[in-house]
Symmetry: C2
Subunit: 423 residues, 2 copies
């Protein structure tokens, strides 16, 4: 199928802005991008999208979430992380069924598409159901499966190699390449050295990326020092976690040495400002991480601690927060936030041909409707997207060349049915 978007302002994510441009898609790829209309027969039979008043830009990459935690949205609020997690969230999670996870993932994917996310990294339970929802809805995802299980040998931890290998075999590079499988190692605080070492070894031998939570709270920091004699970052390094590419959520409490260590191993830190603020975890040193050359990414975390999975809002908060906390209006610019929320995330998740709009890249993009009072006047489209736009301004979403939303109507999800199922 061919698609041609006409008369649209294009934020390429790389070469600035193309005003009143044309973007052509053939099957799953961008094959034309210019401020000049394509000539000849190239897009003769293409479906045309009128991009008037639109800003086309790379789809957003939510580099850390627990998608089906939409099920627990506003279930527990205004309490400390440990109480929130261990007394409210985890007990409720224990009751969740396959069908719950499928439904909750659909709800999260619907919300993500409606707010401009085209790719996400997921770490949760019943991961076959997540893969099922991703396959059906047309979104792109890196799905992590945790091999470490508890209670199998007495009260100890064990690494279920087969469970992980089976999941990877079943889903990796399926759905026209939209799904990649990685390994979940939840954190260094939840497991022990032996199990983490074994899992990291399995990741290495299966050429897997790892998704992990690292240095989210001061409690985690202190627990790690008590348990392992070192901070979580050093513990992860020591246990071999960094021997493969790592997507490291949070990274809130880092000293200079730890930032250097992340850079040494090219670990991809994921900034989750809303969740870190809401749970009282703190504010990550994003300006310092950027200065150190780290591939900083952006994520919403789960809807239970955010309480949404809206990356437009997450970009907005990331762009404001560090300026204020560091009293430096020049740090973390709109341009940097755009990269953090798109191409950096795509790279971290292993989608090298996603995150920038240019010929040859996958056709993962969104169109923002600027025909809104809060987006006028439109002096600077990039600043408007970061500082003024809302998730609800996303009009059209395309992933892998396929239209998932047009005129805010979801085309791969029955939104009314979904909403009714959550009454």
């Amino acid at each position: 199928m061919k698609l041609l978007i006409k008369n649209v302002n294009i934020l390429t994510g790389e070469d600035g802005i193309i005003n009143n441009g044309f973007l052509g898609i053939d099957e799953d790829k961008i094959t034309y991008i210019s401020n000049i209309a394509p000539g000849g027969e190239q897009f003769k039979d293409a479906e045309i999208i009128d991009g008037k008043d639109g800003i086309a830009m790379p789809g957003l990459v939510n580099a850390h979430t627990h998608c089906a935690m939409t099920l627990l949205r506003n279930f527990a609020n205004d309490m400390p992380l440990e109480k929130w997690l261990f007394e409210n969230i985890i007990p409720r999670e224990g009751e969740l069924t396959d069908e719950d996870i499928y439904k909750g993932t659909l709800l999260g994917i619907a919300e993500m598409i409606k707010s401009g996310t085209t790719t996400f990294a997921d770490m949760y339970l019943h991961m076959d159901q997540v893969a099922r929802a991703v396959t059906e809805t047309g979104i792109r995802a890196n799905l992590s499966r945790g091999p470490i299980t508890s209670g199998v040998r007495g009260n100890g931890l064990t690494v279920d190699t087969n469970a992980y290998m089976d999941y990877k075999k079943r889903w990796d590079n399926t759905a026209d390449g939209r799904i990649k499988v990685s390994m979940e190692i939840h954190s260094v605080y939840l497991f022990d050295e032996v199990s983490i070492r074994e899992a990291a070894q399995l990741a290495k031998s299966t050429d897997s990326r790892i998704q992990i939570h690292l240095s989210e709270t001061t409690t985690e920091l202190n627990t790690s020092i008590e348990k392992y004699g070192v901070k979580p970052i050093q513990a992860a390094e020591r246990f071999g976690v960094f021997d493969v590419p790592v997507i490291a959520a949070h990274c809130v409490h880092l000293d200079d040495e730890e930032i250097k260590l992340l850079k040494k191993y090219n670990v991809n830190p994921v900034h989750n400002p809303s969740s870190n603020l809401k749970l009282g975890s703190g504010v990550a040193r994003i300006p310092d991480m950027l200065k150190a050359g780290l591939n900083v990414c952006l994520g919403t975390d789960g809807a239970a601690s955010n309480n949404n999975v809206d990356m437009m809002e997450e970009m907005h908060i990331a762009a404001l927060l560090h300026k204020g906390v560091n009293r430096d209006p020049l740090c973390v610019s709109a341009e940097e936030v755009l990269k953090i929320a798109t191409v950096n995330g795509a790279k971290a998740l292993g989608f090298e041909d996603v995150g920038v709009l240019k010929e040859g890249m996958k056709a993962d993009l969104i169109i923002i409707d600027t025909n809104k009072v809060h987006l006028r006047p439109l002096y600077n489209p990039q600043a408007a997207v970061i500082y003024s736009a809302q998730g609800s301004d996303v009009d059209t979403v395309i992933v892998n060349g396929k239209i998932l939303m047009k005129g805010r109507e979801l085309l791969t999800i029955d939104e009314e049915k979904l909403l009714n199922s959550f009454r």
Copy 2:
């Protein structure tokens, strides 16, 4: 005219939540509120609003903005406050005409109504045009007029008593009581002791509230100490500013003594988190101000430093920010933010019968449409409004008993014409 909203969840702002309730309006007032349908003839001929899937709550009060700065939205970004203000914003402002201000104010009011604001405090230029736009659009506002002018006597500052008195006479308590006039004293840094003293005296003798910027940046702090030997709060006190009710924007850099001083005079501090973050000004000590019993309010500041005037977003950021910065997930709860953004603002602006939904109060309210993927499941309506909802979820806006927006359609502003005028 009578109005009856049926089957709506009501966040009264005072007594918690009324599920599936009824809210009746007669002319400009709420005359019925209950979980039982009104009997008899009381609302026989009333216009009915179906509140299904809706949350009715007090309209939001934007306690500090410069409404027509929408004209400068995304005009200048990512630079220090002084450069932003003195090199970019003020020169551009010098060129603005009456008609520009009228149009810019309409644009800001349209955005505010569409994101749930029913009352705002304004401080800007050509204030007759602001009053004109408020009168026409049906919103409620406290409009400040600055009597201090420069350059009249040589390069000195002078207080134009007549200009202020005329404005007050022309607009105070007009538009069915929707407009109140207050005095702008921009700041202690822009003027000198003599002119501020004279203006404050005029405010006192005319029974006027004062709108002022106080302690926004460390530069302001240092300038005040250099110029007056004391911090801005102390300077304002010394010059008589606190002898009348004061709406004090920002209040970012306060020590314990200054917080006590604000409390002593019942000064109303307005928190502007987005603007303070974006300009690198810092983070106000809101938890400490709340503990001290101050009537903390919330504002967006102008769209040039935010870059929107969306109070739903401002509530969200206020509810997250302080938890993270103070590493305390219990501080500044959803409930507190709701008060800050409604009844506290109304009180500060002198609208004593606004900000809470109960019988006898002015009918200023909004209805949030929860039929959205990001608002399901709906465990806790109050948390959902603060943590998950967006400005675009506001479906209906009522001010002074009059419907200003229904089904997201503005009824007092020609939105299409307005949008076209900003192409």
